[in-house]
Homo-oligomer: 451 residues x 2
């Protein structure tokens, strides 16, 4: 058991509130600051992408006894539903029998997590903005504005769980030798909704992650418990087909009619949301170190914000907490060592999931409709079924395993090199399921190399 | 002629003060803010590396009529003096006859530039720290601290010439879609001095840039007008031989004796400086955009801080000013267009000189003593002498030409690929000046490709 500390968490999002539960159960005092109002008392922002909880997220919840409670908020999706223009709808299974990702509304989960953290004894201070932090003293200064008098709070430890635009990291960034990058992609997103049928049922299959890949842009839809779908339109900020170019109701209507004919009955609603909801940017953030001495540590998006295209943002943040807890169990009250080993363990994995997420952005928007890409997936799938030990697909390794993101990236790269050679085989389009292809893959994998 | 604007420059360094002269001569009102005291009234910081003014710097000074004045502060260096252990001192010419870089003390130049800007009518506000900037309104807020009342200044335009840790950029960085990175290298530097002889003469050749390459660390020395040399010791922060490990006078003495035997008579002085002067970090900073609407623009290190190993930091900043001025001449009062074209013209060059400077860090510390590297330089030199049109050495293109950094990087990469092949030729060590080698290079350059 650790000595009880007085700990601040900045940020009452998913990672902040789950971390609060973990720290409370470990016997610490926990105060959570958030500049925003209590999400339980306000309408949702209209800028959320539904969450895809998968293995890493569930593991972290299970360890602290919250899995069952959260399962009730989630719908399992075991496949992609591909809405490719001029083709009938088709499905791609995500993994093996029984494997699924889970669609959860961010807002609903966040409300529940705050309830759970409060029940565990954490104290929330909403609408209290952190303006400055004395890293060495673990002291937080909050106030109404930059120039009005501030309130000072002294803690033993501070966690920055305050997301991509973290104030805690911002303070650390002004130090010498703090490496940092923020890179925005040229694509934005917007939340849209497909409402439930009048009887409360879903208008589309509710066990699928729906994708309308359209090259430079893409629509996705994930089901909610109430029969609605939360959709996300990903599209460039500027250019021919872009958020900037669609600036009238007529253009929005024409856009939805042209590109999404199979959901045209919902256009009125999509169009309303299109002009009501904000257009949001997406950023990859990398930094190092993730801690200041034994006083302050970053966790979740504040340490490694990623683009959302692998559905791993929250899962990676929850896994951070689980790894931090491993280090707490091993090193007791030596917070210097806990933070040091935590950041060394997690930094390569943060970098790896950032890279994988960025690549999936390319893959989901353009490649999912590409015949050679689909052929590759077909070959991989068959080979993986016949040789499940030798070939775990990258998506499965990231989504359904506990193996590290860094390892997944490395093995995924090797698999890509192998498949690039296989796709060069003569008449691969017709011979793709021949024994020669299978043998060639085994040969490329090497006798003793398990990837 | 442009309409006269009321312009603020944040930062009274070299770029800020030269920009002030340019803007004054173009008829604008100019106020320069600096949080530091007037450098003309205080001792130097002891953290400077001497400047190596070269073609781009001189061009920008010449254009505004300041070249002759500044030449008086500079000493031409036409070669490297290589102090390689267990070898006699030897020299490497930088370029062709008459080509040289110019050693100038940063502090002395900065004092002079501020005098010149003041003479041109710029108003300096020293010890006035900018705490906040309203980008849209081009308004600056200064004050004693973050919480005391601030003074508000409204301008038409603001330039951030406030260096690597720019407050202006810091404000821009908090915007969405602002790409930014800061990357520190693990090597630090420290200013040291070799004093003049009693008669005021230099102790080492004063027309050379002196280098003691020692693998993981390196000492350099550049002459001053007063007979002294400003030296810079580049060395890792931590590790076996590092600033951290040399923590006693005895260790410092042993270090200088072991690695720099040819300057041992100056060890007492080097040792004194070693403990007196700060150990400083080096950072590469990249960002984009470099401007906010037609209101605010970054210039010099604030837009593209680089490591100092190509001696181009100030030269690149001065070239920024010259390019900005081109755009002012072309686009008159259309500051939106001026800023837009300025950043588009300069961003790729900022990135290129960052890359070249980082590579030179590797080259200067480790490769300058490597036999194959020296052989490569020998072959290149001979070929360039015989074919001056076909082969401008990378260093010359960066240092002695007006061609863009981006072009220099691209052509330099091609030259590297060619030389990698040439060094593979049989018995190249003995045949390096044979006609076969010359022919092979010509062949690799391609019949019509001039690099």
């Amino acid at each position: 058991m650790q000595q009880s500390k007085n700990i601040a968490i900045v940020g009452s999002g998913l990672v902040g509130s789950l971390l609060a539960v973990y720290l409370r159960k470990a016997g610490h005092q926990v105060t959570i600051f958030d500049r925003r109002p209590d999400v339980r008392k306000v309408e949702f922002s209209g800028r959320s992408i539904n969450l895809a909880m998968s293995n890493r997220g569930w593991s972290a919840l299970r360890r602290i006894g919250l899995e069952d409670e959260i399962r009730k908020l989630a719908l399992p999706l075991d496949k992609r539903a591909m809405h490719v223009n001029e083709k009938p709808l088709y499905f791609q299974k995500y993994g093996k029998e029984g494997e699924a990702i889970y669609s959860i509304s961010r807002g609903i989960l966040n409300r529940k997590m705050i309830d759970l953290a409060e029940e565990a004894g954490a104290v929330f201070k909403f609408e209290e903005k952190v303006w400055d932090i004395d890293l060495k003293q673990a002291t937080i200064y909050t106030g109404d504005s930059e120039t009005t008098p501030w309130t000072e709070y002294k803690f033993d430890l501070i966690f920055g769980a305050d997301g991509a635009f973290s104030r805690v990291r911002h303070k650390m960034q002004r130090q010498s030798r703090f490496n940092y990058s923020q890179h925005f992609i040229d694509v934005a997103y917007k939340e849209l909704t497909i409402p439930a049928n009048p009887d409360g049922s879903h208008k589309l299959d509710n066990a699928s992650f729906h994708i309308w890949p359209r090259g430079k842009f893409m629509l996705i839809a994930m089901p909610n418990l109430d029969g609605s779908f939360t959709c996300t339109l990903f599209m460039p900020f500027e250019g021919e087909v872009s958020f900037e170019s669609i600036d009238t109701e007529a253009k929005a209507e024409a856009f939805f009619e042209k590109y999404f004919p199979d959901i045209k009955e919902d256009i009125a609603n999509l169009k309303k949301d299109f002009f009501k909801n904000p257009t949001s940017a997406m950023v990859t953030i990398k930094c190092f170190p993730w801690r200041y001495d034994d006083k302050v540590a970053l966790i979740g998006d504040s340490a490694h914000a990623i683009v959302p295209f692998y559905g791993q943002g929250m899962n990676a943040g929850f896994e951070d907490i689980s790894v931090l807890f491993d280090k707490m169990e091993t090193h007791g009250d030596d917070w210097d060592k806990i933070f040091s080993e935590y950041q060394i363990a997690r930094k390569p994995n943060g970098d790896a999931i950032a890279e994988l997420s960025y690549r999936n952005f390319i893959e989901m928007s353009s490649k999912t409709a590409n015949p050679m890409f689909l052929l590759q997936k077909k070959i991989e799938k068959k080979f993986a079924e016949n040789h499940p030990e030798a070939w775990v697909p990258l998506y499965s390794r990231v989504t359904f395993s506990d193996h590290s993101y860094a390892e997944a990236l490395k093995i995924g790269d090797k698999q890509e090199r192998i498949m690039a050679e296989v796709l060069q085989m003569p008449d691969i389009e017709s011979n793709w399921d021949s024994p020669e292809v299978e043998e060639r893959i085994l040969e490329l994998l090497g006798e003793k190399v398990t990837v």
